[in-house]
Amino acid sequence: MLNSWTVHATMANGWVGGAVGFQPPEAWMPALPARLSFVVDHIVRKLLARQSSAALRSAVCRKVGLRPDYLVRSIRDLGSWRLGSILSSVLDTPLHMTR
């Protein structure tokens, strides 16, 4: 499990070299402004093709230290690290690891 979570963090944060390509951060985002819980649900749908539960959204928001009703006006509001953290957090959940 620890190794899986490490892989998720490595991939989601782009800590890989070589020819691996990543889409621009903006491509993960819904139309802004939006609440963080909505952003998380949007990312869950893009990554897992599933809708998220309130518990999952709560957990992901906890990971990045923000409340679900935090208003994301632009991607800059997430700082330099939170998008990668959201992506890895979604991948760390049972919704992804048991699908």
Binding site: M1, L2, L56, V60, D69, D77, T98
Partner: protein, 428 residues
Amino acid sequence: MTNTREAVLGTCECEGLAHSRRAFLKTVGTVAGSTVLATAFGDVFRQVAFGAITDNANVLVVLSLRGGADGLSLVVPHGDPAYVGARPHIALSPSELIGNDWMFGLHPALAPLLPKWRDGSFGAVHAVGTPQPNRSHFAAMEAIEDADPGSSLRCGWVNRMIGVIGTDEPVEGAQIGTSTVPTSLFGPAPSLSLNRLSSLKLISSSDPIRQQYHRQSLHRVWDGAAGPLGQGARAALTTSLTLAPLTQDRPPHNGAVYPYGDVGTAMAETARLIRAQVGTRVVTVDAGGWDMHTSLGTSTSGAMRNKVNELATGLAAFFADLGPWADRVTVVTISEFGRRVTENGSQGLDHGYGNCMLLLGAGVIGGRVHTRWPGLGGKKLVDGDLAVTVDIRSVLAEVLKARFPEADLSAVFPSFTPEWVGAVRSTP
């Protein structure tokens, strides 16, 4: 809608700092909703955070010499008249051996362990193996690690032992050297397999508050998750916290110097794990490279000399590093099979049958070879191999009976009645 300070930091911005480690662990344990986990967290708190409670539990280290180590080179039957003739190029003469009696002597590269042989804490059992010959590395290793012939259950003897004596804390059964779980650890009791202790951590920010948020986030999604994956996630969270102090490399104690390489690394990590007193009861260590079909070598050079030297210096350093903890640690070596009695055309040895086991540390009746020696003469061999007169389970059962009296041997080795070997005594 505004982003207040509370919204940014959560309802309790210093949640991770205001709680003591004890309170945090209790909180996590409660969230987990499991008596087993809560108990384990309690152990974690006592042993790691405060260290006030001494854990006097005995520890078994199973060192697996993968590839089929040649027992006739490790513990040499120089007194058997057929020995030299079977190995004209690779036989060791009595004058090269150490710790000799009239029949056996140790490979000279075991010299770092000679003091332990002489003080009686290092012994050997010879002509030991599985009930039936099996020259396949994988099938033979699985038979030894499963130790329940005929059973279709995928459950190894170490896991069955943990199931009998354990509390479901994965640190109780640990495999070091590879992150692949060996057959002996397969089964319902949780276990831990890792390359290095330093890899056993949750990759996270260096910021302690963000680390707390990360853990809390994972607990929120995994504490209620059912099935083996949920158990594994909770165990990973528990264990990574338990062993957090061990994830930073520290020098060995008592001036111990480990050999460079995997064996030295694994033994050093094992010593740290035991010294940390996190509840470890059984550690299995894989040490490959014993499959020597060609150029086995002599007493002073070659593959066998190098592997034996690595093994001996690693074990000597391990016991020195353990210091006072050595009094409750027993090391047992196993290997899937021995090698052929007769050397092949490449001055190596092909897969055989009977082998030897080395026993070191607490409870061992050492300084001698325990065996019902079958002999190396033609009619005494099994298809050209050393016969097995001692079932490996008898040796393991004797170790468990002496060092883990709470273990139900009939559960660890089902449908097996151990024979007396006389290699281990019960000690406090």
